[in-house]
């Protein structure tokens, strides 16, 4: 099978973002990483490749700055066979629809080289903006089926059966290939690269696709615009209790809660 995994580079989601002096979120100092949900998607794709064991290949595709090559190297170390970057540093502002336009252009370009993709994976959302739109937009533009919030999947012949997460459990959804999948957190964690795979990934090329070859620039005009960004009101820290024993601390805390009339 020919598998594509679309990844986005985002600031490390374990770091709390604050506003910068320029009125924008101060993300420059935060380590860029592969979006958590995209790492789940890549892991799911890699497990599928290993299960099929039929020479299936995974291509990772990222739209991002030059520094995203590092993220793509990490993908090559944990399952991706090929990696492509579309450098978008020349684009000032676009939105998820614009990104989907670029992805569509990139998919068409890659199909011309590698043949059709059977499965296209994206994360269910990116941890920076948490929209969850790109996969659905891309599927629509490609005229492919989309199954969201995938927790597990099985491929049989030219069909895929997906366990799609819902609030109350899951649905089992089936579709003929090609399918775009958006991946939620599965029951497992993504693997860490071995030193050997890391070394091998370092030697693999990251190919670049030129933005201008993929889309007309007017397709990138944002339809949704951010008018202002700001920090929510902060809570002040209260008191910390650390008595001789846990018992004393607990009793003291209860007294404070009684005094504050929350009990």
């Amino acid at each position: 099978m020919n598998i594509l995994v679309c990844i986005k580079q985002v600031p490390d989601d374990s770091v709390e973002v604050t506003m910068g002096a320029d009125g924008k979120p101060a993300v420059e100092g935060i380590t860029p990483v592969v979006n958590a949900f995209d790492t789940y998607a890549l892991e799911m794709a890699t497990r599928l490749k290993e299960t099929l064991d039929d020479g299936s290949e995974i291509t990772a595709l990222c739209i991002g700055p030059d520094s995203a090559k590092n993220s793509l190297k990490n993908c090559l170390a944990v399952g991706a066979d090929y990696a492509y970057l579309v450098n978008n540093e020349s684009v000032d502002e676009t939105d998820a629809m614009g990104i989907a336009h670029i992805l569509k252009g990139a998919v068409e370009k890659l199909v011309a080289e590698k043949g059709k993709f059977d499965l296209i994976f994206t994360g269910k959302e990116a941890t920076d903006v948490a929209l969850g739109h790109t996969g659905i937009y891309l599927a629509y533009k490609l005229g492919a089926a989309v199954i969201t919030d995938a927790m597990d999947l099985e491929v049989k012949g030219d069909r895929v059966t997906v366990k799609h997460e819902t609030e109350e459990g899951h649905r089992v959804i089936e579709a003929p290939l090609p399918v775009v999948l958006t991946v939620t957190k599965p029951a497992y964690d993504p693997r860490y690269p071995t030193i050997k795979n890391k070394m091998a990934a370092r030697r693999k090329p990251i190919d670049e696709l030129k933005l201008g070859d993929l889309v007309a620039m007017d397709q990138l005009t944002a339809k949704i615009r951010t008018v202002s960004e700001y920090e929510p009101p902060r809570r002040a820290a209260g008191v910390k209790i650390k008595e001789e024993s846990e018992e004393e601390s607990a009793v003291k805390a209860i007294q404070m809660m009684v005094d504050a009339k929350v009990l």
Binding site: D13, E16, A253, L263
Partner: protein, 332 residues
């Protein structure tokens, strides 16, 4: 569609579950009214399914000016493509300026699907709406809730948004809207997927959004057995049980108890967190709480930075004492 082609009506998709409107769907009627009160127009609710007249009546009584129902066999089971196609037809006829959907799993899929169909744009997980002239400015969050972002959909119509569950209260309503049935069919060729099974893993209902007291446990509780202390404290306080993602992944409690970025956003009067470190993804779900009590053995745990009272210590020793003390108070 462009802005000049639309009416000032607002369409709300009210999702049904087990034949009744879901809370998130009814909540979306509130921001719809905020818009029509300013700009005129009707709040139109769309209700889809099979055998839905009772549900439609409930939606009409809950604050929709008009309810459009599409009641048919082919909508008996939810399917993203089918439901989006029906909503497309309703939108093409009614030409609403804004389309709102409750931010449920299905709502979050339908919103971008509709945006794709109309080559429009969608805002996600909206927590508030500011009406600026004729425009709706949607308040959304980014970076796991650490930053708020006000967004505006300028020309492309309809402007689509999902509302964050719990962010708006259901409307208080005296009037009763009309119900009209629309005879719409799913277009040929649009449905590409097939739902072959729907599995309910969770049967108990948890209402974290409306809870006045929540006791949450995190990975620091160590085991399912110890997590029982969290449940016991919640029980004697008459509160609900919350959890962090790791506690759920370890199988100590079901995922409908998850609080935070990919769980519920809560605002109780009292929030007690035991063995919870206070990751951004968790904090963004609890900072609306009136009073936070944290129990953590690590003095530097980030949870203490938002806690009114922080107990530095072993939760396994603190919780039994708290349970005992509160029992004494309750028994007078």
């Amino acid at each position: 569609m462009r802005k000049e082609d639309t009416t000032s009506n607002v369409l709300v998709y009210v999702e049904l579950a087990d034949g009744a409107p879901v809370k998130a769907g009814l909540e979306a009627l509130t921001p719809a009214h905020m818009l029509t009160e300013k700009n005129g127009g009707d709040v139109i609710a769309a209700v889809l399914g099979k055998g839905i007249s009772d549900a439609a009546g409930l939606v009409a009584a809950a604050g929709a000016d008009r309810v459009i129902t599409v009641d048919s066999e082919e909508l008996a089971e939810y399917d993203l493509d089918a439901y989006a196609d029906i909503l497309r037809q309703i939108i093409e006829k009614e030409k609403p300026d804004v389309v709102l959907l409750g931010g449920t799993g299905d709502g979050k899929d339908l919103a971008p699907k509709l945006a794709a169909i109309f080559d429009a744009a969608a805002a996600a997980d909206v927590t508030d709406i500011k009406v600026d002239g004729e425009d709706a400015v949607f308040v959304t969050t980014e970076y796991s809730g650490a930053i708020y972002s006000d967004v505006l959909i300028e020309e492309a119509r309809p402007g689509i948004a999902t509302t964050r569950s719990g962010a708006f209260k259901k409307p208080e309503c005296e009037s009763r809207g009309s119900v009209e049935a629309a005879d719409l069919k799913v277009s040929d060729g649009v449905v590409k997927t097939k739902v072959i099974d729907t599995v309910k893993e969770i049967t108990e209902a948890v209402n974290l959004e409306d809870a006045e007291i929540i006791v949450s446990g995190g990975r620091g509780m160590g085991s399912k057995e110890n997590f029982g202390l969290v449940e016991e404290l919640a029980k004697i306080l008459g509160g609900e049980v919350g959890a962090t993602r790791p506690a759920i992944e370890d199988g100590w409690i079901t995922k409908n108890h998850q609080i935070g970025q990919s769980g519920k956003v809560v605002a109780p009067k009292l929030y007690i967190a035991a063995g919870v470190s206070g990751a951004v993804q968790h904090l963004s779900g609890i900072t609306g709480s009136d009073y936070i009590v944290a129990i953590n053995k690590d003095e530097d745990a980030p949870i203490f930075s938002v806690a009114n009272v922080g107990i530095v210590g072993d939760a396994m020793k603190v919780l039994p004492v708290m349970i005992e003390e509160i029992r004494k108070i309750r028994e007078g």
